[in-house]
Symmetry: D2
Amino acid sequence: MNFASDNTVGVHPRILQAMADANDGAQRSYGADEYTTRATAALAQVFDTDLAAYPVLTGTAANSLCLAAMTRPFSAVLCHSEAHILVDECGAPELFTGGAKMLGLAEPAGKLTPAAIEQRIAGFVRGEHDPRPAVVSLTQATEVGTVYSPDEVRAIADVAHAHGMRVHMDGARFANALVGLRCTPAELTWQAGVDALSFGGTKNGAMMLEVVTFFDTALADGFEHHRMKGGQLMSKGRYLGAQLEAYLAQDLWLDTATHANAMATRLAEGLAAVPDVRLPLPTAANEVFPIMPRALFDRLQAAGAVFYEWPGMGPGTDVVAADEVFARFVCAWTTTTDEVDALLAACRD
Amino acid sequence: MNFASDNTVGVHPRILQAMADANDGAQRSYGADEYTTRATAALAQVFDTDLAAYPVLTGTAANSLCLAAMTRPFSAVLCHSEAHILVDECGAPELFTGGAKMLGLAEPAGKLTPAAIEQRIAGFVRGEHDPRPAVVSLTQATEVGTVYSPDEVRAIADVAHAHGMRVHMDGARFANALVGLRCTPAELTWQAGVDALSFGGTKNGAMMLEVVTFFDTALADGFEHHRMKGGQLMSKGRYLGAQLEAYLAQDLWLDTATHANAMATRLAEGLAAVPDVRLPLPTAANEVFPIMPRALFDRLQAAGAVFYEWPGMGPGTDVVAADEVFARFVCAWTTTTDEVDALLAACRD
Amino acid sequence: MNFASDNTVGVHPRILQAMADANDGAQRSYGADEYTTRATAALAQVFDTDLAAYPVLTGTAANSLCLAAMTRPFSAVLCHSEAHILVDECGAPELFTGGAKMLGLAEPAGKLTPAAIEQRIAGFVRGEHDPRPAVVSLTQATEVGTVYSPDEVRAIADVAHAHGMRVHMDGARFANALVGLRCTPAELTWQAGVDALSFGGTKNGAMMLEVVTFFDTALADGFEHHRMKGGQLMSKGRYLGAQLEAYLAQDLWLDTATHANAMATRLAEGLAAVPDVRLPLPTAANEVFPIMPRALFDRLQAAGAVFYEWPGMGPGTDVVAADEVFARFVCAWTTTTDEVDALLAACRD
Amino acid sequence: MNFASDNTVGVHPRILQAMADANDGAQRSYGADEYTTRATAALAQVFDTDLAAYPVLTGTAANSLCLAAMTRPFSAVLCHSEAHILVDECGAPELFTGGAKMLGLAEPAGKLTPAAIEQRIAGFVRGEHDPRPAVVSLTQATEVGTVYSPDEVRAIADVAHAHGMRVHMDGARFANALVGLRCTPAELTWQAGVDALSFGGTKNGAMMLEVVTFFDTALADGFEHHRMKGGQLMSKGRYLGAQLEAYLAQDLWLDTATHANAMATRLAEGLAAVPDVRLPLPTAANEVFPIMPRALFDRLQAAGAVFYEWPGMGPGTDVVAADEVFARFVCAWTTTTDEVDALLAACRD
C-alpha cells in the first residue's frame, strides 16, 4: 500500500531494457548519439510539429533551465502559489535565471485563471522597481491533481501573449494530464499557446528523463550552452536518448499514465464512499487528495499505508477541520488494483 | 579503434546489472533509499575515514557544487590553465558559486606547483578589488594524463592551508590516477590535505555517477540544499546508489581503471616507437598525448581511428611544429589490446 | 504641497556644506579617507557599541548586500509581504545573494509578529526542497509608517535566534522610527537582538548615504569584497564619509527626523478631522496613510497636491471601499507647517 | 607630489556648484528629474547621435551593467589581460551577468588587436563546453595609459561584428583618450563600431558619475530594470543629472582632461630625461608608466611623492630588471606644473 509518490517506484521494464540494449559499442557523447537523435525526432512526431528538445536529468533542472531561456534576470514568472517552481525547488529557478522573481497566485484547485493573471499584471505599477512580467508557468497536471483543459490553457496563453509574456508548462505529470483530457499532445500545448514544456518522464516510468521542449524554437538559441552551464549535459547521453525512445515507442508513456490514472480513479471512488472522507478536488490525473479524519489517517499509517499529509492546497477549495488531514495519495505505473483495494479495505476496517 | 573519450563507451555489465537489480519495489526517493545508504558507507570504508558524500549526475555539477560549498561569491579558485572547471564547463562554477573567479595558472605538464600557487597568491595586492583566494583545485589525473603523487598533493595542500584556503580535487579520473600511483585512496586525498573530492565514476564504467565527497565534513553544512537548488537531486536516487555500490564492490572501480591504464601504457609504448612521434608527457593514467606528424594524424583518421587533436597543453612541455599535431588518445575500460595493436599497426602502415 | 516622497527633496545645507568642505586636497580613495574613518567612529559612538560599518550608495544595495552577508544561496529571508526587499527592489536581493528566497508574510499594519514567524518556520517541512530559513528582516519604520517598539523587536529576534536565524533591520527610515519611540539607537537595535542594520540617511536629509552596519561583526568578514563586487565601493569615498559625519554631528539626523515626524503628526491630526477620511494605522514616523474618498483624492490632486495612491497595505487593517483611495503622504525634513496647513485647507474647500 | 590616482582628488568647483544649485525644491526621484533629462539630451548632442544613457554611481557598476545588457549567462567577454573588468572589479561582471566569462588576452601595450581577437575566437572549438563569445571590451584609455585610434577601434569592431559579437568600451578615462586623439566623440565610438560605452566622469572631475551609454539603443531594452536590480538607481537622481550637465557644459570635461594630459606629457618628458629611467609605453592620456631603478623609486617615496608600483603591464613591452620598478604616475585635473616639476626635481636630487 505505497502511495507515497510516483518517484518511489522503479523503471518500466521496456525502458530499462532499452537502456541495456543501448550499452554496446561506442556512441558520441554529450547528446550527439543516435538514440537521442532518433528520440528527439520521435518527440517531434508525437507533438506533430517542429520543436527543439533537450533531455536533462531532473525535473527541477528542466523547469529552471526552461525558465532561464525564457527570462532575463529582472523578469517575473507568474505561477500558482503551490507550484513546484515556487515551493519545491529550493530556489533553483532563481539560481538558474540569475535572480528572476517567481510570483505565486493563490487560486482554487491549484489552477491559475486568466482573471487572476490579468489582475496580477495590473499590479505591476512600480515601474522598474517591479520585475518585468515575462512568463506564465502552468503546472499540468497541477500540484493537487487537477488539470487544465486545452481551452483553459488557451485562455491563459492569450492573456500572457497579449502582455508580451511567454507560456511555460511544467509537465512533470504531463502524460497523466493528457490521457485524462482525451486530447492530443499538440492540442494541449503549442496549439493552445504553450511556448515551452518541461516534458516529464521520470514519474511515469523512466529512470531520469525530463525533456526541455521548445515549441517556439527561437527560445532554443544558446540552449546547449545553458544546459551545459547548468550541469545538465549528460556525457553518456545515449542513456537519456534510449529512455526517451522507449518511453514514446508504441505509446508506452500513454499506457503507463492511463494505468496510473485508472488506479487513482478507483482509489478516489472508493475513498468517496468512506464515511467522513471527502474529495474537495476532482481526480483528473494520478493523484488523489482526500480530506479525512485524523483518526483514519493515523489508522491507515499504522496499517502500513504509505502516503503523506499534504502541506498546501491553495485557498477556496474546502476547509480542513482541526481533527482532519488533507492527504495525498499518488498512484504510479506500478500501482495494482490489489494495493488500491487493500487501502480501501483498511479504510473500512 | 575508438580512442575518442572514456565517455563514448558503455556501462560496465556489473553496474548495469546492479541498476536492474535495484528496480523492484518501492524505495524512498531523493537519496533516502537503502542503496545510497549502503553505498555511501562503502565509500567511507574505501577512504578509511568519516566523510560526507552526495551522488550527483554530472561531473560539471560535482565540481561546481563542491566549489559552491567551499567558496563565497567573492572568492577566487586557483586551478591549472587547462582545468576542466576553467575551460570545459561553460562557466558552470561561476554560476553555482554566485560569481567566484576561476583563475588559471599555466604550468607545465598540466600540473600546479606550490611555487606557482605561492606566486599567484602573492599577486593578490589589490585588496578588495581582487577576489579573495579560497580554494586550490587540482585535477587528478590531470587534463593531459599526468598525475600528482601524494607528496605533491601534500605540498600543494600545505601552501593552500597556510593561506587559509581549501583544497578541492577534481577526480573525474581519480581511479585512473590512483591505480597508477599504487597508493591508497586515503593517502591520495585527506591524508595529503584534500578537503573535498569530486569522485568520478562515469568515465570509469558507470552510467552517470559523480560523488561530491567532503573529507572536511563541516563543508557539508547545507549541502543537501545546494544539491537540490542546483538541480542535482535525483528523485529515483536508488539508481545512483546502486551504481556506486556496484562500482566499489569487489574493487570493480580499481579493476576497470587498471585495465584502461594498461591499455594506455601499451599504446604509449607503441607510439613512442613510431618514427617522428614523441610523447612529451608521461603516461600516468588512461590518456596518451603524442605529438605526431599531421600526415600521420590524417592517415590514422582516414583509417578509421577516432581520436582528437587537443587544444591545450600548457607551456613548457614541448613545442608542436607547424606540420605536427598534439593529439589525445583515451583508453577506456572497454579498450582491447586488439584495438591498441590495430592503431599501432595503422601507424606503421 | 509636495508629499510625494522623502527622496524628492534636496540635501540638508549642513550636509551639502560638509561635502563641499571635504573637497580640497588629496584623500585616499575607496573609503580609506579620513572623513569615513571619523564618521564610522562616530556611528559606533551613536550606537554605543563596536560595530562594522560600510557606507554604500543606495538603499537597495544596502539591503541586498546586508542580506548577502547573512545568507547562503539556499537561504530564505522572512519579511513582511509589503517589505521593500520583496516588492520594491526588482529582485536585487535575489541577485546579490545568489538566489536566496524572500518570503513575505501578510500581517496587519505592516508588521511581522513572533507568532507569524513561528508559524512560517513551522511550514518548512519539505527538507532540502525548501530553502533554509536564515534571516528575519524587519522594516523600521515599516512601509506603512508604523514602528516596532524595542520590545517588539526583541520578541521577534528571540524567535529568530532560537531557530538559528539572524535579524536584519531595513532602516531606510530608521531615524524616523527612533525619534518617535523615544529610545536610544542601541535599545532599538543590538540590545533588542538586531544583528545587522541598513542605516539610512538619504530619505532624512543626505544626498546618497546608506550604511551597512553589522552589530555582529563576524558578519563583516569579507564584506569589503562583497561591497566591491556589488559595485558599491565609491572611489571618492570622502563624500560618503563627509555626509555621514555631518549627518550625525550635533544630532542633525535626529533633528531632521523629529521635524518630519512632527509634520506627519500635524497632517495626520488634521486629516483625521476631515469628514469621510480615516486613518487605519497609527502615524508613528513621517508617513501618513489615510483612506479617503476618491472624490477628495482627485480634488487634492487637481489643487496641486502631490501624493500617491498606495498599492499595498497588507490584510486586516481596514477595508478600502470602491469609491475610496488608500493614499500615502510623506513628510520630509523640508516639509513646512504652511505646506501641511495648505493641504488641510484644500481638504476642507 | 600626489600622483596616486585620479580618484584621490576632489570635485571640480563648477560641478560641485551645479550640485548645490540643484538642491532647492522638489524634483522627481529615480532619474525623472529635469537635470537628468537635460543632461542626457546634452550627452546625445556631444555624441551627435540618438543614444540611451543611464547615469550610475560607480565605474565597476557601469561596466558590469553594460555587460549584463550585452550578454547572456553563458556568454564570453574578450578583454585585455589587464582590463579593469577582469582584474580590478572582484568579479562584479560575473555577478551582474549571471556568470559570464571574462577572458583576458595578454597583448602588448595594454591593447587588444584584431589578430589576437580572431585567434581567440578561433579557439572556441569545444562547442557548448565553451562559453559563446558575445562581447569585445576595450579600455579607452587603456590600463597603461595608451589609447586606441578610431581606426584601431574600427578594425576591432569589424572583427567583433563579423562574429556576431558586440563592442563595449570601458571609458573610465574616455575624455583623456579623446583629447589626445584629436577626434570627435562620435568618431571614437559609434562611428567606429562601438555599441556601448561606460562614459566615465569621476576620474575627470566629477564626484561619482558614470554613464551607461548605448549607441545601439536596442541594447537598452529593460535596462531600467537592470539598473534598479543592480542597486544603481539613485533615488535623488538630480545630483547625477546636475553633475553630468555641468561636466559637459562649455566643454568642461574636455578642458579638465586636456589639462591632466598636459601634465602627464610634461611629466613623461621630464622622466625620459632622467638617467636610468625609461618609458616603455607612449604617454597618450593622463598616466605615465616609467621603469625606474628601485633606488630612485624608494628615494622619491621617501621625499613624499605618492605613486605606486604597478602590478601589471602585459607582455612584450619591455623587461623590468630585478633592481627596477614599473611605476604608475597619474595626473588629474588638479595636478599643477609645480607638482610635476617638484617630482622631476626630486628625481634629479
